[in-house]
């Protein structure tokens, strides 16, 4: 059984419908990329999983139906979400941002250990640990956001456009960090990306959205060969 199973998901912002029946399945330990052009509904899909959007259809996490749950309840179940634009707590320090990520945890020793882990994974953050998040560069804030998500010890990590607004080298290092994290921790990933080649460095499967519907889906090996993907996203 998949860790995350989305079936016939419809999502609405007020009166307008953004998703028209999405199906996604993510195996435990796997990594699925959600690709598509601007406005295809990628961010809305993640926000639906996190409970921030009005939906109909099924979203099942480890067999448990997430419909109607508040976002903080969903976070409690072990889902961490790094939103588009990083979602930093701007006036909080780096350290406080990370500790905020650990809000739901009661094991002080474990939290301290994970804080160490984050700082070793992201040395830039260690250097700026007392700075307010708003003073950090885009890349540093992205790492901070990922670190904050890790601090909650999630089973499922949702990443919304981690490379957005970053220089290619910085985006690359962010993805390398994610790869390093997966080696240390048992983590299932769903990554929304416009940059498909970057996403494919981690994802073993992908779903391509178009105007709120699934246009293509399948394992990486299959999709990489598909002409549309190549032309639209891989530019070859």
């Amino acid at each position: 059984m998949s860790l995350l199973e989305v079936r016939d998901l419809h999502a609405f912002y007020g009166p307008s419908q953004v998703l028209h029946g999405i199906d996604i399945a993510v195996e435990a330990g796997g990594a699925v990329a959600i690709l598509g052009a601007n406005g295809a509904g990628k961010t809305t899909t993640l926000r639906s999983i996190s409970g921030m959007v009005r939906t109909s259809g099924t979203i099942a996490f480890d067999g448990r139906d997430l419909s109607g749950l508040r976002p903080d309840r969903i976070a409690r179940l072990g889902i961490a979400h790094v939103p588009q634009g990083r979602g930093s707590f701007r006036t909080l320090t780096v350290r406080e941002n990370l500790m905020a990520g650990a809000y739901l945890r009661r094991d002080a020793a474990g939290v301290a250990g994970d804080l160490e882990l984050c700082l070793s994974l992201f040395p830039q953050l260690e250097r700026r640990i007392r700075s307010q998040a708003v003073m950090l560069s885009g890349g540093e804030q992205q790492m901070l956001a990922i670190g904050r998500a890790i601090m909650s010890k999630p089973r499922l990590l949702l990443l919304d456009e981690p490379s957005l607004g970053l220089a290619p080298a910085t985006a690359q290092s962010v993805y390398e960090a994610i790869t390093r994290i997966r080696r240390e921790i048992d983590l299932t990933l769903v990554i929304v990306e416009e940059n498909a080649s970057l996403a494919f460095t981690i994802a073993d499967a992908a779903v391509v959205l178009e105007a709120g519907r699934v246009a293509l889906a399948g394992p990486r090996a299959e999709l990489i060969g598909v002409d549309e993907i190549r032309k639209a996203y891989l530019g070859s």
Binding site: S50, M52, R70, P71, D72, A75, R76, A80, H81, P83, G87, S88, F89, R90, T91, L92, E96, M99, A100, G101, Y103, L104, R148, S152
Partner: protein
């Protein structure tokens, strides 16, 4: 010289009361993004409750004051949950009208329950004086200042050394991200309003002995507190507190040393100060500059 010291200390004491209410305004502003014009009226209500709790003097006033603080927390949390939450108070106009409505509602309830009469309210402190150098200072002034300082320090500790404080600041900073890390934003906003109301209740029991208890008791204090909050930069707690003290001291000195400003026009002093500061530095003394993102 003696008079000067006395004025400064009395001004500092008054300023502490303004600071307390100003801090309440900043707290609400940071967590919900609005200015609560009813903050003073809420403080009046809790002071009436304290009067009730003191049972005609049978219960000592510090205990009754404590009852007011607890009541304040409940009232604040309740108003946030019952009323404020149901409006889009991030919209400045809506927020202002809602808080004006609350002001009238709470003031009206006080008037209805306890009448528009002026009552005595016992001071928390003994009616004594202390010689300090060439000056003779009232214990009430010293006590008022001391209590507010202690409460402000406690709040600082809460906000910066506890998990609850971190979560309150997080919610004020970014409600959406707060939800994503598992914080119950609705409940935390109630706590934020509750704490703010505690500060308002504190201001109420401290000012009541001086100006007597009646439904519009805190209207003037509210103006001073608004001035202090705006002067300090609406999102800066320290700024609000310091501005409160400054306003209190300047007001006390101006009332005596500047001839044309009698006791009735003292209130013009902070208003003029704010006006000038806002023109020169719209974000207040310690506030952050607002940048319009295009």
């Amino acid at each position: 010289m003696g008079q000067f010291i006395q004025l400064v200390i009395d001004g500092f004491a008054n300023g502490s009361i303004y600071a307390s209410l100003a801090l309440a305004l900043v707290l609400v502003r940071r967590s919900t993004g609005m200015i609560n014009f009813a903050q003073g009226a809420m403080g009046v209500f809790t002071t009436y409750v304290a009067l009730l709790a003191s049972n005609g003097g049978a219960i000592p006033s510090p205990v009754a004051a404590l009852a007011a603080l607890v009541c304040g927390f409940v009232v604040g949390a309740f108003l946030q949950w019952g009323v404020v939450r149901r409006f889009n108070v991030r919209n400045a106009q809506t927020a202002t009208v809602v808080s004006i409505a609350l002001f009238m509602l709470v003031t009206g309830i006080c008037g209805m329950a306890w009448g528009y009469v002026v009552r005595d309210y016992p001071s928390l402190f003994p009616n004594a004086v202390l010689p300090i150098g060439p000056a003779v200072v009232s214990v009430q002034s010293l006590g008022t200042a001391a209590v507010v300082i202690v409460v402000v320090v406690l709040l600082q500790l809460l906000f910066y050394r506890t998990k609850l404080g971190l979560s309150l600041r997080a919610v004020a900073d970014n409600p959406e991200s707060s939800q994503l890390v598992g914080m119950n934003v609705a409940r935390l906003l109630m706590v934020g309003w509750g704490l703010a109301a505690v500060l308002g209740a504190l201001a109420g029991v401290l000012v009541a002995p001086k100006v007597y208890l009646f439904p519009q008791m805190m209207d003037q204090v509210l103006v001073y507190a608004l001035a202090a909050a705006i002067l300090g930069g609406l999102d800066s707690p320290i700024g609000a507190v310091i501005a409160g003290w400054i306003i209190g001291i300047v007001e006390a000195l101006a009332g005596v040393y500047v001839g044309i400003i009698g006791s009735d026009l003292k209130i013009a002093v902070p208003l003029i100060a704010i006006f000038v500061v806002l023109l020169v530095r719209p974000q207040g003394l310690l506030g952050r500059k607002e940048v319009a993102r295009v």
